[in-house]
């Protein structure tokens, strides 16, 4: 088994807001190995993007962060802004959901890719251009489009540009936050295929955030399920789909299955005012007395873990 590359230990993120303290992430433990692709899945508002932003230290000022994010022996949470800038892009790249909003509308695509190269690698103008063209070809954009502007690109092509930029410095990890959610099915298949290809060819680990279980199946080696700011289950992909353990995981897999719709009743809890006990208990069909009183701990089995009283000894 490959060595661990990025380890998140007991990450807690709270936001100070007018409505009170929002408990966005609670005791997150995750590990990504070299060349592994890990997926974080959960509903909107469950805190999955917060985890991604915390890794890169991109959370807003009102966030209170504690815990450790160990990357190649360093705790990223202790780095200053200058050191962090050396990690972002160079070591850990990020791809966002809305590629259109990440590109500057008034500069040509090619120049935007080249700009990153000039700043990070101090390449000269023509060297940077050469490298940018190379990257464009690598992600399937015709070099003739070097001088075109973002609005001339479709969503799928914009996402290819983002992937080209993410690859520019041969990072060890790409964090992709819902990279295909804004794309349609055919384009999604193209982009997922590309992401998989480039990460395998360049030995890059993938940390994929999504709410689509189908995408998880296609892309990942293992996954973590997040609910209301907590990881409720971690498992290798085949084991998860074969035998989900946590009631929430089971409900997710069952909610849209071939036999019809089985929606999960109720709704996601309010993160400013959490109930005692297990955070899933009001929606859980196996809820018992202990679930209402005591917050369950992660129970580990050989390859997987689950946060549920029904599995603890």
């Amino acid at each position: 088994m490959a060595a661990s590359l990025l380890e998140i230990r007991d990450l807690n993120v709270k936001f100070r807001t007018d409505a009170g303290l929002v408990d966005a992430c609670n005791g997150i433990d995750l590990m990504i190995r070299e060349r592994e692709s890990l997926c974080l899945i959960g509903e909107s508002g469950c805190g999955k993007s917060v985890v991604a932003l915390a890794i890169l230290n991109l959370l807003p000022e009102n966030a209170i962060i504690s815990g450790e994010v160990i990357f190649k022996g360093r705790d990223l949470l202790n780095l200053n802004e200058k050191e962090m800038r050396g990690v972002r892009g160079n070591e850990i790249s990020m791809i966002f959901e809305q590629p259109g909003t990440c590109l500057n509308p008034v500069f040509p695509i090619g120049d935007q890719i080249a700009e990153a190269l000039r700043i990070h690698e101090h390449l000269r103008k023509n060297e940077a251009k050469e490298k940018a063209v190379e990257l464009m070809v690598h992600v399937g954009i015709s070099p003739q489009r070097y001088g075109e502007y973002p609005h001339q690109f479709s969503g799928g092509m914009q996402q290819r540009v983002m992937i080209a930029m993410a690859l520019a410095f041969r990072p060890s990890i790409i964090v992709a936050d819902e990279p295909t959610t804004s794309l349609d099915l055919i384009t999604q298949a193209q982009i997922l295929d590309l992401l998989k290809k480039v990460s395998q060819e360049n030995n890059i680990s993938l940390f994929l955030i999504t709410h689509d279980l189908g995408v998880v199946w296609e892309m990942c080696d293992s996954l973590a399920v997040m609910y209301a700011g907590e990881i409720v289950e971690r498992a290798p992909i085949y084991e998860f789909f074969h035998s989900p353990m946590h009631p929430y995981s089971k409900a997710l897999l069952g909610s849209i299955s071939k036999s019809g719709f089985h929606p999960i009743g109720g709704s996601v809890p309010n993160l400013t005012d959490l109930l005692d006990g297990c955070r899933f208990h009001p929606r859980c069909d196996k809820c018992s007395d202990i679930c209402k009183k005591l917050r369950p701990k992660m129970t580990y089995f050989s390859t997987r873990g689950v946060r549920c009283h029904h599995y603890s000894a």
Binding site: I186, T187, A189, G214, E218, F261, S267
Partner: protein, 285 residues
């Protein structure tokens, strides 16, 4: 295409293929350039005035984006009673209560405004507005695609329940084939403004004949499928203003032949109710 009473016909295709245009044309939110739309035997293209108004009540739409289709300055009570007021139809507290109950919304929400509601609740308001006048046809334009999966399942379940209770027909527009499979009785697959294949749901999923349909189906990230067996289409959809000659799909088709570049394929019925327009199918069948 044809939609029967109490039936769900789904239109699937990529963004920009024209599925929404079809839905909007039926309600004449877009005035079609030519052609006929018959609703209960009457050509709605020729109707004007009062008769058209009466007919129009029987046809409603649920929009994709519940956030932008609800007036932010109207309360829930105003929003769900607007269809009655707009059509000068009597309503009272019981009507409102019944409607809220139908879409599983708590009456406490009546005095709230859209920004105070969750995405799922907003879409339920959209559904309530659509069913208020007891229509016979509802055009559901990506009714769940802006929602989270667990909420998505709740909304789709609600739509199914309403169909069971009222016998309403749905024209269900979506690009999510996993959802379409569960919602639709029949499916029409659209590519670049044309229907390339149409048939019963099981025809499309199990015996699809058009290469575009096959590519769409293989693009579904289905759990349990073989990860390697996928048709990845090369290139982008051509622009609608420069439609390719011959078959409109030929620029991306993995099975293209010479004839596809020059001749527009005709539509062939390969089995009862299952129609395809593709040269490859016509050759063999």
């Amino acid at each position: 295409m044809r939609l029967d009473k109490g039936e769900t016909l789904a239109i699937v295709g990529e963004s920009g293929c024209g599925k929404t245009v079809v839905g909007w044309s039926i309600l004449r939110l877009i005035e079609p350039t030519s052609g006929e739309i018959l609703f209960k035997g009457l050509n709605i293209m020729n109707l004007r005035g009062k008769r058209y108004g009466e007919l129009k009540r029987k046809m409603q739409i649920i929009f994709q984006n519940a956030d932008s289709s609800l007036d932010p300055r109207m309360s829930v009570r105003n929003l769900i009673t607007e269809p009655f007021r707009a059509n000068r139809i009597f309503f009272n507290g019981d009507t409102i209560r019944e409607l809220m109950e139908k879409v599983d919304l708590n009456e406490e929400l009546l005095e709230r405004y859209p920004h105070e509601l969750s995405g799922g609740q907003r879409q339920r308001i959209g559904v309530a507005r659509a069913i208020a006048l007891k229509p016979e046809l509802i055009v559901a334009d990506e009714p769940a695609s802006s929602l989270d999966f667990s909420v998505q399942a709740q909304i789709l379940y609600l739509l199914k329940k309403i169909q069971r209770d009222y016998g309403v027909s749905y024209l269900f527009i979506s690009h999510n084939l996993n959802i379409v499979r569960m919602m639709a009785d029949r499916i029409a697959v659209m590519n670049m403004g044309k229907i390339v294949e149409m048939g019963r749901t099981e025809d499309i999923f199990e015996r699809s004949a058009h290469p575009y349909t096959q590519a769409l189906l293989s693009a579904i990230p289905a759990i349990g499928s073989d990860r390697r067996k996928r048709i990845i289409l090369k290139g982008e959809m051509p622009s609608q203003s420069e439609i390719p000659k011959g078959c409109r799909f030929h620029t991306r088709c993995p099975l293209k032949k010479r004839i596809c570049e020059t001749t527009i394929p005709t539509t062939t019925e390969i089995s009862s109710g299952h129609c395809v327009s593709c040269h490859l199918v016509c050759d063999t069948g």
